[in-house]
C-alpha cells in the first residue's frame, strides 16, 4: 500500500484529528470532521466524545456516518436524545470544540455557507446555516476545516452565516455572544492557522510539509499575520493513513 504520498483531504483529516483531545466533547458536523473524529478515536483519543446535532452523544465511530442524524452517529453511544437537548447543552457551555466547514472565511474567522452573491438574488444558493451558526456561537473553541485558495479565504465573506470574531476584538461580546468563545484554529490543505490574541486576525502557525510560507500567502485573499517563527506540521504517518484508508473511509466517500 502507498503511504508515502497522500492527498490534500487526507492531510486535512490527519491534522484536524490531532487537534481532537482525548476525554473532551466535540461537536461534529458532516464530512471531514466525522473522519477526523473517527481517526482520533482509533489513534490517540479513544475517549473523545463526539456530539451530533440531532441527538447522538459519545458514539464509537466504527463506521463513517453519512448524515448527522443517521444511526452511526449514536453507534454504541452513551446517549441518544434530540436536537434541543444537544443545542442547549452547547448553549450551557458543555461543548469544548466545534468543527465546521464553509464556502468562505474572512480574516476574523467569519464563515459563509449560505449564499455566494446577494442574498435575495444569489449567484449560488448554498445549503444554509444548519447547525453551523449554533456551533460557532456556543462551543468554546471552533475549529474550521477548509480548502485553501483565494476564492475561499476572502477579505470579506458575502454572508456571515456563522460568527467568527465579527469585526474584531470585543465584537462577539458586544453582539451578546458568550465571552471566551470563538474561532480557535483553521486547518487548510496548506497550513494550520490560528487567531492573534489581541487583534483576533488570522495568523499562520505552521505550514504543511513541502509548503512554503509564500504559497500560503499567495493563496490567501487577505493579509495574514506571519509570526517570526512558523512551524512545520508533521506529515500524516503511515499508521494514520492506514487507519484512514482501511478502517475510517473504506468506501472512499471522501478521501
Amino acid at each position: 500500500m502507498e503511504t508515502s504520498t497522500y492527498n490534500p483531504t487526507e492531510l486535512m483529516i490527519c491534522i484536524a484529528s490531532r487537534l481532537m483531545e482525548d476525554g473532551t466533547t466535540a461537536f461534529i458536523g458532516t464530512g471531514i470532521p466525522m473522519l477526523a473524529a473517527s481517526l482520533a478515536q482509533k489513534m490517540h483519543a479513544p475517549n473523545l466524545i463526539p456530539i451530533f446535532e440531532f441527538g447522538g452523544t459519545g458514539a464509537i465511530l466504527e463506521r463513517l456516518p453519512l448524515a448527522v442524524g443517521e444511526q452511526r452517529t449514536f453507534n454504541k453511544a452513551l446517549a441518544a436524545s434530540g436536537i434541543c437537548d444537544i443545542m442547549e447543552t452547547a448553549q450551557r457551555g458543555f461543548i469544548e470544540y466545534g468543527f465546521l466547514g464553509g464556502a468562505q472565511i474572512d480574516p476574523y474567522g467569519n464563515l459563509n455557507s449560505t449564499v455566494i452573491g446577494d442574498h435575495d438574488h444569489p449567484k449560488v444558493r448554498l445549503p444554509g446555516s444548519g447547525g453551523a451558526n449554533d456551533v460557532g456561537s456556543h462551543c468554546w473553541r471552533t475549529i474550521i476545516i477548509m480548502r485553501h485558495d483565494k476564492r475561499r479565504f476572502v477579505p470579506q465573506v458575502d454572508f456571515i452565516t456563522t460568527p467568527g470574531y465579527l469585526t474584531g476584538p470585543g465584537a462577539r461580546e458586544e453582539a451578546g455572544l458568550a465571552p471566551g468563545t470563538g474561532p480557535y484554529r483553521v486547518v487548510s490543505n496548506l497550513a494550520l492557522l490560528g487567531f492573534h490574541e489581541e487583534s483576533k486576525r488570522m495568523t499562520l502557525l505552521a505550514v504543511h510539509p513541502g509548503v512554503t510560507v509564500e504559497q500560503v500567502v499567495e493563496n490567501t485573499g487577505f493579509a495574514l499575520i506571519i509570526p517570526n517563527h512558523v512551524g512545520t506540521n508533521e506529515a500524516p504517518t503511515p499508521e494514520e493513513l492506514r487507519i484512514l484508508r482501511e478502517e475510517v473511509d473504506k468506501e472512499r466517500l471522501y478521501i
Partner: protein, 324 residues
C-alpha cells in the same frame, strides 16, 4: 423590553398563540378515535394549498417519505416550508410546490449542495427565503410547544443569519445582556414518521428523537406515518415510550419502509443506490422530471412504490441492519 435589532426577513407564519390554544380546544379530538387512514386520505384531508408545513427528521433519516411523495402526487401548491431537510424538501422544490422558505439547511449532506434548491432559489421561483440556524428552527417549535409567542436564545447573534431572519435582539430585562428572541413557529401541518403507533396516534420512536417532541406539539394538524400499527395494550404496557400522545395526532398512516430511500434506525439501512440516483438525476431539470415520473407520478401509492423498488432490495436493507 427594548428591541435593539430586527432581522429584515419576512415573518412567514405569525406566532398567534391564542388562536393556537383555541384551535387545540376546538379541533383536536380528546377522545380516543380511530385515525388510521391511507397516505392519499391523510394528505387530501389535512394538507391544503398555501399551508405552512414542517417535516421531521431529515430526508434520509426517519423521514415521512411516503407522505412527502403523496403530497407531490396530489400537487399541493404554494406551500410555505420549515426548510430543514434533504430528500423530502428536494422533491417538493423539484416539483415546484414551494413558495416561501424559512430555511436552515437544505442540502444533500455527504453529496453536497442541492441542485433543486439552487434552481428554485436562483430562478426566483421561491421568492422568499428567511434564514435561521438549526437550533433556532427547533427552538421555534419548542416555543410553540410551550404555548408562548417567543423564546430567548443566544444563537444567531451578530450574524447575517440573524439579519436575514425575522428574529429580534433585545436587552434582557434581568441582566441587561443582548439576547435573540425567536418567534414561535406554529405549523399548519406537521409530518413525522415513527417506528410504531396505535390506531389513535400514540407514537413511539427509537434512537435519537430529532425534534419530533417539539414539532408534534407545534402542529395544528399532525400526520403520523408508522412502520407498524400496534395494539393500544402495547402502548399501555410501556407508556414511558410514548413521545407523541394521541391527542396531538390527526391521522395515522401505516407505512412500512415509509422512510425509504432513507433509513429507519434498528429496522433498515438507507438505500444508497437510490439516493445516489436522485443525486445524479436531480442535477438537470429533465432528469429530475424523469425521476418524479418514475418514482412518484408513475405509481398510484406507497404500496406500488414499494413494488417498484422490489422485495429483494427492501429485504436486503433490513438484512444489513440485522447482521450488525
Amino acid at each position: 423590553m427594548e428591541v435593539v435589532e430586527s432581522g429584515i426577513g419576512e415573518l412567514i407564519q405569525t406566532p398567534d398563540i391564542n388562536s393556537f390554544r383555541e384551535w387545540n380546544r376546538q379541533n383536536k379530538p380528546k377522545a380516543l378515535v380511530d385515525k388510521v387512514m391511507t397516505e392519499q386520505e391523510a394528505i387530501a384531508r389535512f394538507v391544503h394549498d398555501g399551508d405552512y408545513i414542517g417535516t421531521e427528521l431529515y430526508g434520509t433519516v426517519r423521514c415521512p417519505m411516503s407522505l412527502a411523495r403523496e403530497l407531490v402526487r396530489q400537487g399541493k401548491k404554494g406551500l410555505r416550508i420549515a426548510g430543514q431537510g434533504v430528500l423530502e424538501l428536494d422533491l417538493w422544490l423539484a416539483a415546484g410546490l414551494v413558495e416561501k422558505l424559512d430555511i436552515t439547511y437544505i442540502g444533500l449532506e455527504v453529496y453536497g449542495i442541492s441542485p433543486s434548491l439552487r434552481r428554485a432559489v436562483e430562478s426566483g421561483q421561491v421568492g422568499t427565503t428567511v434564514e435561521w440556524s438549526n437550533a433556532a428552527i427547533a427552538w421555534r417549535f419548542k416555543a410553540a410547544a410551550m404555548g408562548v409567542p417567543f423564546i430567548p436564545v443566544r444563537s444567531m447573534l451578530g450574524s447575517d443569519t440573524f439579519n436575514y431572519s425575522a428574529a429580534k435582539v433585545v436587552r434582557c430585562p434581568f441582566t441587561g445582556q443582548k439576547v435573540c428572541l425567536l418567534p414561535a413557529l406554529i405549523l399548519d401541518v406537521g409530518m413525522i414518521h415513527v417506528h410504531r403507533a396505535d390506531r389513535y396516534g400514540n407514537a413511539q420512536i427509537e434512537g435519537i428523537s430529532g425534534f419530533a417532541f417539539e414539532l408534534a406539539r407545534a402542529s395544528k394538524r399532525l400526520i403520523i406515518s408508522a412502520e407498524e400499527i400496534i395494539p393500544t395494550e402495547e402502548i399501555r404496557r410501556y407508556p414511558d415510550r410514548t413521545i407523541i400522545p394521541y391527542y396531538l395526532v390527526d391521522a395515522v398512516v401505516e407505512a412500512p419502509f415509509g422512510s425509504h430511500p432513507g433509513e429507519m434506525v434498528y429496522l433498515y439501512e438507507r438505500d444508497e443506490e437510490l439516493i445516489k440516483e436522485w443525486v445524479e438525476m436531480s442535477k438537470e431539470s429533465e432528469t429530475t422530471q424523469e425521476y418524479l415520473d418514475r418514482y412518484i407520478y408513475g405509481v398510484k401509492n406507497h404500496a406500488e412504490y414499494l413494488k417498484l423498488i422490489g422485495e429483494e432490495r427492501l429485504a436486503y436493507l433490513k438484512e444489513i441492519v440485522a447482521r450488525r
